[in-house]
């Protein structure tokens, strides 16, 4: 994973609530064997509408997605994060991000930023007024800034360190191999084995 310290860029005002992962990337895209190439499938159904905000040329090149509450609910598909990354997005700002999406995002250097609904509304208003508005997400200090807006968001110490360091989760865990082996010694005998 690439280290992520700051995300500085323009934002796309999606501004819808309950955006589930089936909307972010429909299931027929899940047949691929790769982690890349999902960008064209991002919001595929909604994109067919020429008036959909992702088709608005003024927001081309946006790296931050502004969404309503409960973003990324539903299926566990990490493909949703891969599709957003593939389409150039690096972070989502929403009043609430669903649990599994959040986990998946953090493991791919995609930053889930939860701030209150009023802050999201101010950001949406700002970029609607001026699509060139720059939004700055500072991962180290867990802050979001735009002209006239400044907010902090929750990011636990561990996730912050991993994002900034671009650390490999598996390598981190394997440093505790002895703990894992010790745990395995004590597991009850009746637990099932598949082979």
């Amino acid at each position: 994973m690439e280290p992520v310290r700051n995300i500085v860029g323009r934002a796309l005002p999606l501004a819808r609530a309950d955006v589930d992962t089936d909307q972010i990337i429909p299931s027929h895209w899940l047949k691929r064997l790769e982690r890349t190439g999902y960008g064209p499938g991002l919001f595929e159904a909604w994109r067919k509408d020429p008036a959909f905000v992702l088709n608005d040329p003024r927001y081309r090149g946006a790296t931050v997605l502004l969404a309503g509450a409960n973003f990324g609910g539903g299926s566990s598909r990490e493909h949703a994060v891969w599709a957003l990354l593939d389409a150039g997005f690096r972070a989502v700002i929403a009043p609430r991000v669903a649990d599994i999406f959040r986990n998946n995002a953090l493991r791919n250097g995609f930053v889930p930023v939860e701030v209150d609904a009023d802050t999201v509304a101010s950001l949406v208003a700002a970029v609607r007024l001026d699509p060139a508005t720059t939004i700055t997400i500072d991962v180290e200090h867990a802050t979001v800034q735009a002209p006239g807006v400044r907010a902090t968001f929750a990011l636990d110490e561990f996730s912050r360190t991993r994002l900034i360091g671009g650390l490999d989760d598996i390598a981190l865990t394997l440093r505790h191999e002895q703990d894992i082996a010790a745990y395995e010694e004590k597991r009850p005998e009746w637990l099932p084995r598949v082979r």
């Binding site: 027929h28 409960n70 561990f158 598996i170 865990t173 099932p192």
Partner: protein
């Protein structure tokens, strides 16, 4: 004093350090063809092995054809990759054609692999299903799959606890599906966020294991991390004698242990919700998220009469679903009926639907599909003659798989088609682009197929 979920959590902590999520041991890792290929590729790239192939089970369910047609080429590639990865990494796999193949959340409880007190993960959000037996089970993404394959552990922040207590007796015509749809209607799609829901109370105790599986299955539709029911006699009776259940002295030892898992009497939850089962009715969703439902006696709601924060979603949903406020649910006609999915395709579900269908015909013009949750369920159902009942009524009787639950195989709705479905998600396009999904119980799905519009069994003359 601890709750059920806290007890199971604490037993699995491999390592705990301040400022870090707990590192938990995973007792069982279930794998399927759609979310795993990139994880195996990752292992190969970093020259890592699967730490515990004996605690890892693979099957094929999302993509597979459920009739005699071969898989489309792109799906076939994923199915082949699953078989190849299982072989290369030494994992047992139940491929298509195997008598044990089926939807991952149906086969594991059926084989007795899902047991009380275990931690179970799978690259699928409906892993919450396994909580019905008192396991702590949740869905993970592909990066986490790779992590579990390599380390048999997963780093997680401790969830909160939530009790949903359902007291009273469930009215006739109401199934487990109606209980969970009623719960979600009450607490909303984010009602369980950050929490493990423990389902408690007389109405939950009175449910069969199949019913409890249906309830825990849809915990994720309430936004919860997982759902659980404390193990009891129903659980033990379900497990005894199943292929992977403990035997002899081990069974006795396991029983003693499982009895100690229930939440302590004074344990507290971060949130508590009480539901009266006696006022529940069969539910039908009208919208595009599982909380957007009314009872079968209800009408399509007017968004203007709904709370502020749900109004905009409701408007968009009605536009997508092509429904007019005020329309009685019973007046809404359907084009297709799907009885299947990890939510409702176990033997009891098929029996409930067959009871309604027996001796009747599917309304002409309606496409009816019955897709058993596993080949094991299919065989059991055929032993009872349920396949004949469905076929005679005009339903298609299929092989096991996810099928029209998510439309990754050719079983999809055409744009604009409306479907009564026993699955768990009614998102836009879930059953095929432009398709319209209404979630219902197996009995309501069956009655709807006969009537041609939403109906409960007692509506049929």
């Amino acid at each position: 004093m601890a709750t059920l979920s806290e007890k199971v959590w604490e037993r699995h902590v491999v390592r705990r350090a301040a400022g870090e999520p707990d590192l938990l041991y995973v007792d069982l890792h279930l794998v399927h063809e759609v979310t795993s290929p990139q994880a195996f590729a990752g292992l190969r790239l970093s020259k890592r092995r699967v730490r515990r192939p004996d605690l890892t089970l693979a099957t094929m369910d999302h993509n597979v054809p459920t009739n005699d047609e071969p898989a489309e080429e792109i799906s076939a590639r994923q199915i082949d990759a699953m078989a190849r990865n299982a072989r290369e990494f030494g994992i047992r796999c139940y491929p298509t054609g195997d008598p044990n193949q089926g939807i991952v959340h149906v086969i594991s409880p059926q084989l007795g692999l899902t047991q009380p007190g275990m931690t179970i993960v799978c690259g699928d959000s409906h892993t919450s299903t396994h909580g019905a037996l008192g396991a702590l089970a949740w869905g993970i993404g592909t990066s986490e799959i790779e992590h579990v394959l390599a380390t048999q552990t997963i780093a997680q922040t401790k969830p909160g606890t939530m009790a949903v207590t359902v007291e009273g007796a469930l009215p006739a015509e109401c199934a487990a599906k109606d209980v969970i749809l009623g719960i979600i209607a009450r607490i909303g799609t984010a009602g369980g966020t950050g929490n493990v829901i423990e389902y408690r109370g007389a109405a939950i105790r009175a449910l069969s294991m199949e019913g409890r599986l249906t309830i825990c299955n849809m915990s994720i539709e309430a936004g919860a991390r997982a759902g659980m029911v404390a193990p009891d006699q129903v659980t033990f009776a379900w497990l005894e004698g199943r292929p992977f259940a403990p035997k002899g002295a081990q069974w006795e030892r396991a029983l003693d242990d499982w009895r100690s898992l229930a939440s302590d009497p004074g344990a507290t939850y971060s949130r508590e919700v009480a539901i009266d089962a006696s006022v529940l009715r069969p539910y039908v969703t009208w919208g595009t998220n599982p909380a957007q439902s009314v009872t079968i006696d209800g009408v399509v709601p007017d968004p203007d009469a709904l709370p502020d924060d749900t109004r905009e979603s409701a408007r968009r949903a009605l536009r997508y679903q092509d429904l007019t406020p005020g329309t009685p649910m019973r007046d809404i006609r359907v084009d297709a009926v799907f009885i299947g999915s990890c939510s409702n395709a176990r033997l009891e579900d098929l029996r409930a639907a067959a009871d309604v269908v027996r001796g009747r015909r599917v309304r002409s013009g309606i496409r009816g599909l019955v897709v058993p949750g596993s080949m094991g369920v299919k065989a059991d159902a055929e032993r009872e003659g349920l396949d004949r009942i469905f076929r005679d009524a005009g339903f298609e009787w299929r092989d096991a798989g996810c099928s029209m639950c998510l439309g990754m195989n050719p079983d999809i709705l055409r744009p604009g088609e409306r479907c009564a479905s026993t699955s768990n998600r009614n998102f836009e396009g879930r059953q095929g682009p432009g398709g319209r999904t209404h979630l219902v119980s197996p009995a309501v799905a069956a009655a709807t197929a006969i009537a041609g519009h939403f109906a409960s069994p007692s509506d049929l003359r």
